[in-house]
């Protein structure tokens, strides 16, 4: 049997942009994934406040959603984003790592549906939430 979690982890860690963002896959399996993004000066959107740019949070959430799809037991292989919507609830606290958690809650032969959340080190109100649909592709 192929270890899908291992394949997904390998796949995520080989992504040049995931490396550039410093993304770390902390958990994966059964349609769920968790990826963290450490605070970095390069990712700041407003230098006057030091808050991370929403685009960087989007990229982390997108990666996490893709990882969740690939780790689903019914996903044969790769995936690509069809559509992704992000709601930004609040500014991420400067200096804190952002943790994203995604769940692939339904998958068909062609489409995977995913929800995700981004949190910083404060528990409670998320920084952002995401909802999207992804393609289901063979290996």
């Amino acid at each position: 049997m192929v270890d899908k979690a291992a394949i997904a982890r390998q796949f995520i860690e080989a992504i040049p942009h995931a490396k550039a963002l410093g993304l770390k896959l902390t958990e994966i399996g059964n349609g769920k994934a968790e990826i963290s993004m450490p605070y970095s000066e390069e990712l700041v959107g407003d230098p006057r406040t030091g808050v991370i740019h929403g685009g960087a949070v989007f990229a982390a959430l997108d990666t996490c959603c893709g990882a969740a799809v690939m780790s689903h037991p019914s996903a044969p292989g790769g995936t690509a984003t069809i559509d992704l919507r992000i709601d930004y609830m609040r500014a991420a606290t400067p200096g804190q790592t952002i943790r994203t958690q995604a769940t692939c809650y339904h998958i068909t032969r062609n489409v995977a549906f995913v929800r995700a959340t981004a949190l910083d080190e404060a528990e409670g109100l998320p920084v952002a939430t995401a909802a999207g649909s992804f393609t289901v592709e063979g290996l």
């Binding site: 040049p16 942009h17 995931a18 990712l43 230098p47 685009g55 960087a56 990666t63």
Partner: protein, 171 residues
């Protein structure tokens, strides 16, 4: 009535380019994404300069979906900020040097952003343009399109809502 003489072209260009640079160059993440802006009159085009670190699928290869989204969001926010600040820049109420001052200038904040991935982003430069559907006093609605070799074949489009900077409450 004698009409006022138009300003010399270099004065106009210098003022607008200095203001645009002040808006864009202060943001580390825009630099991280290798993004710059072309200005023709009041019209802005975002340019994403290709780099290997923007790749999301090394097998195809293709741009990372998050890069595409971030590029579209940056284009939306900068276009909206530009549209909002340009009248003040033109009247001289606002100088390029004021833009770094948090007390004087606030930027729109993204409320939500939805990206439609139409085809995979090729490993080369990309362009984006934002259209402000409505700019109200509190909220703005913006649509963004991105393309690469052929403007008629978009590789992504997005729409989003933004909270406009609010004038400070009295007192």
């Amino acid at each position: 009535m004698a009409r006022t003489r138009p300003e010399p072209v270099q004065v106009v260009k210098q003022r607008r380019d200095a203001a645009l640079n002040a808006i864009v160059e202060g943001v580390p993440y825009i630099r991280f994404l290798n993004t710059t802006f072309d200005r023709r009159g009041d019209e802005l085009t975002g340019v994403l300069h290709f780099d290997n670190k923007l790749i999301g699928n090394p097998m195809l290869p293709a741009l990372h979906g998050g890069v595409t989204a971030a590029f579209l969001e940056i284009t939306a926010v900068i276009t909206l900020s530009w549209d909002f600040l340009l009248p003040k820049i033109e009247t001289g109420e606002l100088e390029a040097s004021d833009i770094a001052d948090y007390q004087k200038v606030r930027f729109p904040k993204t409320v939500d952003f939805t990206v439609d991935y139409l085809r995979s982003g090729l490993p080369r430069d990309a362009y984006a343009r934002a259209y402000i559907s409505r700019a109200g006093r509190r909220y703005a609605s913006v649509r963004v399109e991105a393309w690469q070799d052929n403007h008629a074949r978009l590789f992504a489009q997005a729409s989003g809502h933004f909270l406009m900077p609010q004038p400070k409450a009295d007192g």
